[in-house]
């Protein structure tokens, strides 16, 4: 069946596309892009005033499935993704059990195929049970479709072990994604060390606890030659390390979350908002400004959400006892549109690069381009839609967003995966398979 | 606060007050057959000043310095829960009241609630042989079974009025005035020095 998307503004920096045109889709692929297209029969949608981009990809989400389905599961997580305009996500392996063998990879893939509303790319753990001691079944997982590996959550503490992981991984076309956290420095850290930790009377999480591991992993990248992706970077000096590595020609990439760009340690007030308790912690305003600059100048490759759902009752408690993390899939695009694109910091092309193009490259996925022959994974954006982030609007099971109450402009209205709508006019489409 | 607008009448001037205090001092001495075993305890913030005047007068008449104390009843008020935490002044009774005849002194006797609180406060401080009550003005409207033993002047008043004592020592002028209660204002004494602050 054919689908015609007419009159939208198409943005694809990969092919230099930035104009109003029509897209004709058949059998899950784009068959033609041009002006005044016609078709014999099929569904036609007039998307005048909207923007179409290659489908957005979030390469860092936690769907808690298997094991903690009260927080989120693959059905609710992928629905949240579709609602946020994402056509694909990469799930982190810190589930229960951990995704550290092929069986676990197949479980996530099977659930995603059965109930998913977006493509689910499974990342495997680097070490067995995320303990940082023994190599996981990386090769077997790779053969079963896990393209990338990470010990997201704590990172690998022992440098020798990290070297072994990277040495071993480089036989595959993969990337080791690194959660940079030196536990001996971070300890029981709750918030950024400095003003926030002093003001709030809690154990600080020094920036150096992150930067030290970024420096270490870059050194190991140099030593092993294994591609390295720094996850959720948060500090100016960490960014400088990545910039230097890139200048040196090392295969290093990095990602940033909206919350580290748009929130700071100063937002955590005497109210001790547990929604703002994240790992790594919210940093200083200076760091946040540096991250935005890094996104603008390309040192940062990708925007990710680190979507980390938790139940209300887990978050509604003492700050030091509440779990780390906030959701992000359903606010990420709108935050970027509001604070960066509309604000004139970056253009749509840069946004597409950071939210669609680079994530596919890092995940070793086929590119999606707005041209004939490409897979029809598309995100339709209403750039003028004004809305307020409210708890009741989430498709995620969780409400632990740090942006409740934020007034945003611009959001995804339609999401297409393989030519099928997973969201239409702002509503996630039920039934059908993608 | 009193300002010229809502003063309805001046029912005692400085001379009237002086005469009333003198008469009350005589009455207290007569009723107690002298100054022996008497102690004066004034209720802050006007009663204590009156008590001091009475003590001076008694000394003039009898040549005896009677023990003089002041009592703050903030912690004993019955309207703490419904109104506010009143500013606390200090209680200072530098002698034992055990076995003494304590003459409680206040400026204006009205509902009787202040005296009730003062009696409770006194009982927590010691065990007087007897307690007597001296007030400069009795304006009626009692809500409790309390009466004064020594009264400077009976001043019939309406509950929409305030009867207030001002003393030269703290207010710059001595007088008892009848005033209209303004909306939102409570009946009672005015803060020290309000006359000067006008």
């Amino acid at each position: 069946m054919a689908l015609m998307l007419k009159n939208a503004h198409l943005v694809d920096p990969q092919i230099g596309l930035d104009e109003v045109a029509d897209i004709l889709i058949r059998d899950g692929k784009i068959v033609e892009v041009g002006h005044n297209l016609t078709m014999e029969k099929g569904e036609e949608r007039d998307l005048t005033g909207k923007i179409i981009t290659p489908g957005l990809v979030d390469l860092h989400v936690h769907f808690r499935d298997p094991g903690q389905e009260q927080k989120e599961d693959i059905a609710s997580g992928t629905r949240a993704a579709a609602h946020g305009g994402f056509t694909a996500v990469c799930t982190m392996p810190n589930t229960s059990p951990v995704v550290d063998d092929a069986v676990a990879v197949e479980y996530v893939k099977a659930r995603a195929a059965a109930v998913g509303k977006c493509r689910v790319i499974v990342s495997g753990a680097c070490s067995k049970d995320l303990k940082g001691e023994v190599l996981s079944d990386m090769g077997d997982m790779y053969l079963h479709g896990a393209p990338v590996f990470t010990d997201d959550g704590h990172g690998i503490q022992d440098a020798g072990m990290m070297r072994r992981v990277m040495d071993y991984a480089k036989q595959f076309d993969t990337v080791i994604m690194a959660h940079c956290q030196d536990d001996s420095l971070v300890g029981d850290g709750q918030v950024n060390e400095g003003v926030a930790s002093t003001r709030l009377g809690m154990v600080g999480w020094p920036a150096e606890g992150e930067e030290l591991e970024i420096a270490r992993d870059i050194a190991l990248c140099r030593l092993t030659g294994c591609p390295l992706h720094i996850q959720h970077i948060t500090t100016k000096r960490g960014l400088d390390l990545v910039a230097a590595a890139k200048a040196e020609g090392l295969p290093v990439t990095c990602e940033v979350t909206p919350h580290h760009m748009f929130l700071t340690e100063d937002d955590i007030t005497a109210e001790y908002q547990t929604a703002l308790k994240v790992n790594p912690p919210l940093r200083t305003a200076e760091d946040a400004a540096a991250l935005i600059e890094g996104l603008k100048n390309g040192v940062i490759d990708a925007i990710v959400t680190d979507h980390a759902p938790h139940t209300d009752w887990e978050k509604d408690r003492e700050f030091e006892l509440a779990p780390f993390g906030m959701t992000g899939l359903e606010t990420s695009l709108s935050l970027v549109l509001t604070h960066l694109v509309r604000a004139g910091v970056i253009d749509y092309g840069r946004m597409v690069q950071a939210m669609a193009v680079a994530p596919r490259e890092i995940l070793r996925q086929e590119p999606v381009k707005l041209e004939a022959g490409s897979t029809a994974d598309l995100t339709v954006i209403d750039p003028e839609a004004e809305w307020t982030v409210e708890v009741g609007d989430f498709y995620s099971k969780a409400n632990n967003s740090g942006f409740i109450g934020a007034k945003l402009t611009g959001r995804a209205t339609d999401t297409y995966v393989g030519g099928y709508a997973t969201m239409q006019d702002g509503v996630v489409v039920d039934g059908g398979t993608i | 606060m009193s300002d010229a607008n809502n003063v309805k009448s001046i029912c005692m001037d400085a001379n009237d007050i002086e005469r009333a205090v003198t008469r009350m001092a005589h009455q207290i001495l007569e009723a107690n057959k002298g100054a022996e075993d008497i102690a004066l305890v004034g209720i802050v913030t006007r009663g204590d000043l009156l008590a001091k005047m009475l003590a001076c007068k008694i000394e003039e008449i009898e040549g005896v310095k009677v023990p003089l104390g002041k009592l703050d009843i903030s912690f004993y008020r019955d309207d703490f829960a419904t109104h506010f935490a009143p500013e606390v002044h200090s209680t200072d009774i530098p002698f034992s009241i055990d076995g003494k005849t304590v003459v409680l002194v206040d400026d204006v006797l009205y509902t009787g609630r202040t005296i009730r609180a003062a009696l409770d406060a006194l009982m927590d401080i010691g065990r007087p042989a007897a307690v007597e009550l001296a007030v400069l003005v009795d304006r009626g409207h009692r809500e409790l079974p309390i009466r004064a033993d020594f009264v400077g002047k009976n001043v019939p008043s309406s509950s929409s009025e305030n009867v207030r004592l001002f003393l030269e020592e703290v207010d710059g002028i001595s007088a008892v005035e009848i005033l209209d209660i303004e909306p939102g204002q409570r009946a009672g004494a005015s803060p020290l020095g309000t006359k000067e602050g006008e």
């Binding site: 005497a270 | 008020r77 009143p86 927590d124 004494a189 803060p191």
Partner: protein, 314 residues
């Protein structure tokens, strides 16, 4: 006097006038505490819950005495039998307590920010009796009271705070409170026991040299060293701590003749203070601080539960 606070949670929300109101009110309670019947009926009918989710003997007993002397009904809740231990959330515990129709919660908790959370959930007056490593405002107030009584005026005093600043909730309230009252504050500690940003608390000077700082100080506030902690200890041993940071008899000659010694208790004799200094008849006001605890807690309860004064003193 316009005291319109409902909670005593964050000392930085209090002005110098607010603090003076508390101190002056505390002073009036001396008269009550020094007579035979040490009780007034002011809070008759009020129910105060002492929710101590962490062991505490001194602070809890001080609050309990203050409540009883004001005639409040007090309920001690917590300790090892806390509902939290049984898996109930803090929020549910507080809601349960509120169903008893209470008027005030005095809370001590291991975790920072809990008093504010309780205030939000309960709607009743909340007094922070120490939350995590964050604040302990009544301790700061009793310290201010003791220093005020001793020195006559707080403004312009140079106060040195010595010891474990980083793990001290006392400092979280005391240092800002001293600044509010116009004191100059020097923080003296091994670098391993300093918070990341002592200046955020209000410290004017930070040093690790006690001997250099001592001659300048009007008040020397010695903090308790947590001798329980040894793994990853921030100093090699108690002997060395005493050598560098202990207020020993030898250091007496470095102090101003009229310098005062404070300590929040309980004292580790021979560690942060030796007996000569702890019991120094001219300098030590450590026992006055304990008494002041009852006075300022009575004052705080009186002012917080009484609501605002409408300006008429009847």
């Amino acid at each position: 006097m316009a005291f319109d606070h409902k909670h005593l949670i964050d000392i930085t929300e209090y002005s110098a006038d607010d603090i003076m109101t508390i101190l002056e009110t505390a002073k009036t309670f001396k008269q009550v505490n020094e007579r035979r019947i040490k009780k007034v009926p002011t809070l008759k009918g009020f129910t105060v819950v002492n929710m101590f989710n962490e062991p505490s003997t001194r602070t809890r007993s001080s609050f309990e005495i203050a409540e009883k002397r004001l005639s409040a009904d007090s309920l001690n809740f917590g300790g090892s039998s806390t509902a939290t231990v049984k898996g109930e959330s803090l929020v549910d515990t507080v809601k349960t307590l509120c169903s008893y129709k209470i008027d005030c919660i005095v809370v001590r908790d291991r975790w920072a920010g809990v008093p504010r959370k309780i205030a939000d959930v309960s709607g009743v007056s909340v007094i922070d009796a120490g939350d995590g490593k964050h604040q302990h405002p009544t301790q700061a107030l009793l310290d201010l009271y003791s220093i005020w009584e001793e020195k006559g005026d707080l403004n312009g005093l140079h106060v040195g705070v010595v010891g474990d600043i980083s793990h001290s909730r006392v400092c979280g309230s005391l240092i800002p409170a001293l600044k509010i009252m116009g004191c100059e504050v020097t923080v003296i500690a091994p670098p391993t026991l300093l918070p990341a940003r002592p200046d955020i608390l209000g410290a004017d000077h930070v040093t690790s040299n006690l001997d250099e700082a001592l001659p300048e100080l009007d008040v020397v506030y010695m903090l308790r060293i947590q001798r329980e902690r040894f793994e990853g200890a921030p100093y090699p041993n108690l002997r060395e701590y005493n050598l560098l940071y202990g207020l020993t008899q030898e250091r007496d000659r470095l102090m101003k003749p009229d310098a005062t010694i404070c300590h929040p208790g309980p004292i580790n004799r021979g560690v942060e203070l030796d007996s000569f200094m702890a019991d120094h008849p001219k300098r030590s006001i450590i026992l006055d601080q304990v008494y002041a605890g009852v006075l300022v807690r009575m004052a705080a309860l009186y002012l917080l539960l009484g609501g605002s004064n409408d300006g008429i003193d009847a």
